[in-house]
């Protein structure tokens, strides 16, 4: 496109007034803002001593857990919807025929690689029986890669750990799963 093209709009900047050309009023404005922030309350959280405030644990996406039903059995029915929905391919399920009469399959092993997980919450969205959920635990640390691959027992133990503080999201949000 030529610079002489009539389709080009040449924009002229708004003219500065005397105050703008003298800089000082604008400078004082900037300095005032700076000084104001110098004394304003700080937003930093001193992490290990102080815990950050989580706005709403129901929509927070932290460490996963596998929920248990009333009988203490894993709720998962090994339908693979979460593994299919997962964009990071971090969920690995091995299904087996269920030992219980109310479902066909159950997960013989259910593994989430927390290092690959991007905490998008797709698995939680996909689950038809609200078995996999993201808790509001946010400090996920480990000393080895193996330690960060959570198997079924560990995911169930996360449920035991967090169920008192965070009841199942589906119940909390008022849409209990249809039987």
């Amino acid at each position: 496109m030529q610079a002489t093209d009539p389709d080009i709009y040449w924009i002229t900047e708004p003219q500065l007034g005397l105050a703008g050309n003298m800089y000082l009023p604008l400078f004082m404005q900037g300095l005032t803002t700076t000084v104001k922030h110098l004394f304003s309350p700080k937003v930093t959280v001193s992490f290990p001593e102080e815990r950050p405030q989580i706005g709403n644990p129901l929509i927070y996406r932290g460490v996963h857990r596998l929920n248990k039903d009333e009988a203490g059995r894993v709720k998962c029915v090994a339908c693979f919807l979460c593994a299919t929905a997962c964009p990071a391919h971090c969920i690995d399920i091995v299904a087996a025929p269920s030992p219980w009469p109310d479902r066909e399959k159950y997960p013989e092993s259910f593994t989430i690689d927390e290092l690959r997980c991007i905490f998008c919450g797709m698995c939680e969205e996909a689950c038809p029986v609200d078995a996999v959920e993201l808790t509001s635990l946010l400090d996920l640390t480990g000393r080895s890669r193996e330690e960060m691959i959570f198997d079924k027992e560990k995911l169930l133990s996360v449920y035991d750990m967090t169920q008192a503080a965070e009841p199942m999201k589906s119940l909390e949000l008022g849409n209990a799963p249809s039987k």
Binding site: Q2, A3, W10, N21, G30, L31, H37, L38, T44
Partner: protein
């Protein structure tokens, strides 16, 4: 060894130790202020090692220094090695040598401890007392800093370093002139190039140069910001554009030499502003005006000087977060089209006033008239420059401006 030599060596040792510590702790202060301005808390963890005592993070400079010492001293293969090593040494040596003539207070009385006299006379709180060309010495050495920057940028053999070095040389050379013009007024009115004499005359009359020559203060402060390469004039090392400017290729101890030299430039600039324009160690009713001081008076003078210095440094650090960086053409037009004429105006005003005082038209010591005229001239000059030559903010090529976008040039 003569007592004078011993005194000088002790002063040099104290000065270098003190300056290095001051630079380290000013880095911590700068980080704190940066954090507070951005609503963060800043470094507050490093305290005494191996304990849980944190001391508001006062151990941070030590940790920073250790980190730099233990870092790999990497020299890229493509650099001009001799100059590459020389550059940080030049810049640091020049930055440190400036402090030889800067008075950190006035004089302290003789050390009279249990009847033992140290030198027999009062000790002047400056490494090289009585240097008659003090200001010229400061200027000469601060110009040498440009060599360090250019050598570093050029010997690195790297585009970013080179552009940083080039920008820096242009900027530092351009702002030397307004800086000198800002000072010339003071030299005229004081009649001396000695820094202690300049403080002395301000103390004697009770009028700080900031009150009588506000235009000089304005020009000098802006130029000092540019010379110290502080924001909004930090083009030599604009991180966002040039990675790090002239010290992109440096690592480890060589890098920290550059960084310390940069902080020393800021310390020099702040001290010069205090000494030249804000009366140095003088404060009305608190410190006397003559050279006869008691120990208490000497300590008070040091305290006053350090307080003023810290306030100026605080201003330097706050300005960093208040203003965006200038574009290069704005930087240059500010130097040549605004600061240079304003500096000349200040110099002319002072020359006329001093001459009027000398030939008896004005009574001697009429500082009030100086101040009145000074403020008037500053307002007129400033408003005039804003009206006559407003700073161009829009530098885009456009048709009708006689540039590359003229139709005949486009069709040719």
């Amino acid at each position: 060894m003569s007592p004078d030599l011993i005194a000088a060596l002790v002063k040099i040792a104290l000065l270098i130790g003190g300056l290095m510590t001051a630079a380290a702790y000013l880095v911590l202060l700068e980080r704190w202020i940066a954090a507070w301005v951005q609503d963060r808390k800043g470094p507050n963890r490093v305290g005494i090692p191996l304990t849980d005592i944190k001391l508001f993070g006062l151990g941070q400079p030590l940790a920073d220094g250790l980190k730099f010492i233990f870092k790999e001293e990497y020299t890229p293969a493509h650099v001009d090695k001799a100059l590459f090593v020389l550059a940080p040494l030049v810049i640091l040596a020049a930055a440190l040598a400036i402090f030889a003539v800067i008075p950190f207070g006035s004089v302290v009385p003789d050390f009279d401890i249990w009847g033992y006299k140290f030198t027999g006379d009062a000790v002047n709180l400056v490494v090289a007392p009585g240097v008659d060309v003090g200001l010229i010495y400061v200027f000469a050495l601060s110009s040498i800093a440009v060599y360090g920057v250019i050598l570093g940028g050029w010997s690195s053999n790297n585009k970013y370093s080179f552009i940083g070095g080039l920008r820096s040389s242009a900027q530092l050379i351009a702002y030397e002139i307004p800086m000198g013009l800002g000072i010339l007024g003071i030299v005229l009115s004081t009649g001396s190039l000695r820094l202690d004499a300049i403080i002395g005359s301000q103390a004697q009359s009770g009028w700080w140069n900031a009150m009588t020559q506000p235009l000089g203060l304005l020009v000098f402060t802006v130029a000092a910001f540019a010379e110290a390469a502080r924001l909004p004039f930090d083009l030599p090392e604009a991180e966002q554009e040039l990675i790090g400017g002239y010290h992109t290729e440096y690592a480890g101890m060589k890098l920290i030499l550059f960084l310390i030299a940069e902080f020393l430039h800021m310390i020099t600039a702040a001290l010069l502003i205090v000494i030249l324009f804000f009366g140095g160690w003088h404060f009305w009713g608190l410190t006397g005006a003559d050279d006869q001081v008691t120990w208490l008076g000497a300590l008070l003078r040091i305290f006053v000087l350090v307080t003023k210095f810290m306030l100026v440094v605080l201003f330097f650090m706050l300005v960093r977060w208040s203003w965006p960086r200038f574009r290069f053409d704005q930087l240059m037009s500010l130097a040549w089209k605004v600061m240079l004429p304003l500096g000349l105006l200040n110099l002319a005003t002072m020359a006329i006033l001093v001459e009027l005082e000398a030939n008896g038209t004005l009574p001697v010591g009429s500082q009030g008239t100086f101040a009145l005229v000074g403020w008037g001239v500053m307002l007129v000059g400033w408003i005039g420059s804003a009206l006559v030559a407003p700073l161009q903010t829009d530098n885009r090529p456009r048709p009708g401006a006689g540039g590359l976008l003229e139709p005949e040039r486009l069709l040719a």
